[in-house]
């Protein structure tokens, strides 16, 4: 089942890569479609992210808030991720210790 899922995922992602190029060859004017295609990935990520955050605990929420704030301010993926991971790993100890 895992193999089937991975192959299916690979197929879907590959099709989106190839189809864009070949669709573009057929239809030069995609003005009507563009805002939808631009909004879709962000909408999907939010629809996945929000329920995950809602199920998380205070440490998860804090790490996400810190990461988003840091990313927005510095745009530094490395610093933001390391900070977020550190909060996830050691946050429980800090909260239970205080």
């Amino acid at each position: 089942m895992t193999m089937t899922t991975i192959i299916m995922m690979a197929g879907i992602v590959y099709l989106t890569r190839v189809s864009g190029y070949f669709i573009g060859l057929q239809f030069r004017h995609i003005g009507e479609l563009r805002p939808i295609l631009e909004a879709l990935p962000g909408c999907a990520m939010m629809a996945i992210l929000i329920p995950a955050v809602r199920q998380g605990d205070i440490v998860d929420f804090t790490s996400l808030a810190v990461v988003l704030g840091m990313m927005w301010k510095t745009n530094n993926v490395v610093v933001s991720s390391v900070l977020g991971m550190a909060i996830l790993l050691f946050g429980d100890n800090v909260i239970s210790g205080s």
Binding site: T2, M3, I6, V13, T16, G42, I50
Partner: protein, 242 residues
């Protein structure tokens, strides 16, 4: 510039992204191990899918039994930006055979396309993007492996906490998308609110995802309609003013 030289140029220009891809790959390895994937399965996924957002999105639904439909839907929805990437490269690959295009588009990647558009016409765009993609693929595979091995060390600390590594990375990608896109964030926010409401109601994930996305897209279309009314409506209004 020849295809080969353009490919080398793409490899050279990708060094900066090599590092950030490496970090995402490590986090994917850690998150995949936390989700119960074997190392070879994680590596196979990274090699075959080669998409951080799609892989992190899939991990969010990685449970037994695997919900194939929900994973397929989430992977497709977060990958739709590839359609735009492909479209932006239309007619830039005309001097290549269809077979080569079909094969090399496998490693079409965001930063490669974005930087290729800025380059002069002397550079072979497909070669450049492929060179760029080869380096990123290498980084992605090595870092996935490192992430899996790092997860053994993290186990000593608190591996359970790493369950949230996937959503954390999705959050980072959201900020990157938001800053790099000219699109309005309102549809994303509406989609998020809809997801929260539906989650609170107790709907299953396979329903939350399409309904929330449809709500966000509906708002995007409404917003566009308001800011750019159809030509017919504009004409009627103009006539009335006359």
């Amino acid at each position: 510039m020849s295809v080969r030289h353009s490919m080398v140029k793409g490899m050279q220009n990708s060094v900066g992204y090599f590092i950030s891809t490496f970090l995402f790959g490590i986090m994917f390895g850690v998150a995949a191990a936390a989700s119960g994937l074997e190392q070879w399965q994680g590596l196979l996924m990274s090699g075959m899918v080669f998409s951080a957002s799609a892989q992190f999105a899939a991990l969010e639904f990685w449970q037994s039994p695997l919900p194939l439909g929900t994973i397929a839907m989430s992977v497709f929805l977060v990958s739709t930006r590839n359609i735009l990437l492909g479209m932006s490269m239309t007619h830039h690959f005309d001097n290549h055979s269809t077979g080569r295009k079909i094969l090399w588009l496998f490693i079409l990647n965001d930063p490669g396309v974005v930087t290729a558009i800025r380059l002069d016409s002397g550079i072979d765009k497909l070669g450049y993007i492929t060179g760029y993609g080869i380096t990123l693929m290498l980084s992605w595979l090595i870092s996935t492996w490192v992430g899996f091995n790092l997860s053994n060390i993290i186990t000593i600390a608190d591996f359970g906490a790493m369950d949230f590594a996937g959503p954390l990375m999705l959050g980072i990608m959201m900020v990157l998308f938001s800053k790099g896109s000219a699109a309005s964030p309102i549809p994303w926010i509406i989609s998020g609110i809809a997801a929260l409401v539906l989650h609170e109601i107790g709907l299953p994930a396979y329903l939350i995802l399409p309904i929330s996305v449809a709500t966000g897209i509906a708002s995007a279309m409404t917003n566009r309609h308001r800011s750019h009314p159809p030509k017919g409506e504009t004409r009627i209004k103009a006539n009335n003013n006359d």
